[in-house]
């Protein structure tokens, strides 16, 4: 059953393929952009599991590299560590900071409350988990700018996810509700104060749907609503809508060539990211990710 999402999810004894999801850019198991209620790695009940992932997303003007580690126990709790680097490209150059990289570290924990997303195929009850992601940004040369905008350099997201595999149909559906104040996932800090305090958490829905085509192949799409706290600060700084942010989405194909390896390729549309220096372009491009379970 399943291969995909979890080929990575098979341990020596293991879990069914597809049941562990792939790795998100933030390290937690899920789709590519959105955490799911599944607990990652191959470990099932009474087992420990470890998975590692490496991901690159390239859009018109930026490149984001992510490395992640996931630890899981008993299909109950998941710990994740993500390290992200955003190459600011043309934007860094425009700001007089050529070669600027923004680096972010994300420590996550996810706890399954109830439900069995895969095997309880005779009920509509989803698997439900809650999670936290603490993000710490090293903005290097951009830090004075973020300070001036009133964006913090760290923040914590909290989320609840519900995931259900409609096994008969081979269709997986996930919904996540995230409380966050992150600007561009945290790459531009958290909240803003310039032009009026905007430091409150906002509730952002995220959706994923995937269709299993074979036991080790799935296609799907995700949509992630994003806060837009910096646009007002940018306007107050005389940048017009130069710091506006948009929602993120992707369309993916995931393939598990073996039980321990899954590969994901996606088309991503991250909307505008610092449109003031990128001619207002939507950042579309390619996302490639590999995950290995041990």
């Amino acid at each position: 059953m399943t291969g995909l999402l979890s080929a990575p999810a098979f341990a020596a004894t293991g879990k069914l393929v597809l049941t562990g999801g792939v790795s998100t850019i933030e390290g937690a198991a899920g789709g590519g952009l959105t955490p799911w209620a599944v607990i990652g790695t191959q470990a099932t009940e009474n087992e420990w599991g470890i998975a590692a992932n490496i991901t690159q997303a390239r859009t018109d003007d930026y490149t984001v590299d992510t490395q992640g580690l996931t630890f899981a126990w008993d299909e109950r709790i998941e710990f994740s560590l993500g390290s992200q680097t955003l190459d600011t490209g043309i934007t860094g150059t425009a700001l007089g900071l050529p070669g600027l990289d923004l680096e972010q570290t994300i420590v996550g924990v996810k706890y399954r409350l109830f439900g069995e997303a895969v095997l309880d195929s005779d009920t509509w009850l989803p698997q439900v988990s809650v999670g936290l992601q603490h993000k710490r940004l090293d903005a290097a040369g951009l830090e004075p700018t973020l300070n001036a905008l009133g964006a913090e350099d760290s923040g914590t997201d909290a989320y609840i996810s519900a995931t259900k595999l409609f096994l008969k149909q081979g269709v997986l559906v996930n919904g996540t509700l995230r409380a966050t104040k992150a600007n561009q996932n945290g790459f531009l800090g958290f909240g803003s104060r310039l032009g009026g305090d905007d430091t409150d958490y906002e509730l952002m829905p995220e959706f994923s749907v995937a269709k299993l085509l074979k036991d080790n192949l799935a296609i799907g799409a995700e949509y992630r609503f994003m806060p837009n706290k910096l646009e007002a600060a940018g306007r107050a700084a005389g940048l017009g809508n130069g710091l506006a942010a948009d929602d993120w989405m992707d369309i993916f194909v995931a393939w598990a060539p073996t039980k321990n390896v899954s590969l994901t390729a996606a088309y991503v549309d991250l909307g505008r990211i610092v449109p003031g220096t990128t001619n207002g372009r939507d950042q579309t491009g390619v996302y490639l990710s590999a995950q290995f379970a041990f």
């Binding site: 059953m1 399943t2 098979f10 341990a11 020596a12 004894t13 293991g14 879990k15 069914l16 393929v17 099932t44 009940e45 009474n46 087992e47 299909e75 069995e116 895969v118 095997l119 309880d120 195929s121 005779d122 009920t123 409609f166 096994l167 008969k168 149909q169 081979g170 269709v171 559906v173 959706f207 749907v209 269709k211 299993l212 085509l213 074979k214 036991d215 799409a221 949509y223 609503f225 948009d246 929602d247 989405m249 549309d269 909307g271």
Partner: protein
Amino acid sequence: MRKKFMGFALALGMALSSGMVSANTGSLYDQLGGKESIRTVMDDFVARVKADPRIGDQFQNTDANRLASQLTDQVCEATGGPCKYVGLDMKAAHAGMTITKAHFNALVEVLVASMNAKGVPFDLQTDILALLAPMHRDVITVR
């Protein structure tokens, strides 16, 4: 961005409805090709299970022919065929055995391998798995 989201929602709706509304006709049993086809898969399945390093030990003393026959009756009945499974219910059949979720998942994995080997189309595989997966509640003895 709302426009983009509407596109996503539309695609989601289409994916779901295409999955939910099946154009198949006839019982799952008929689509599988009847009892003989099911038996072919189950013979393969039992052979693989006995050889599987994760779960083979637990079937060391199991009569392969008898097990394949019982499984065939069970699947035949569950898929709408004219059979009657007369063995123990799943809870009683596994009482006293040490079966973890990892064992159960291994069993599912082996079943998928057998269905692939015998050419069962993937959409029928998920139909069967959806019928059998809830048995995890009775089959797994170690939580």
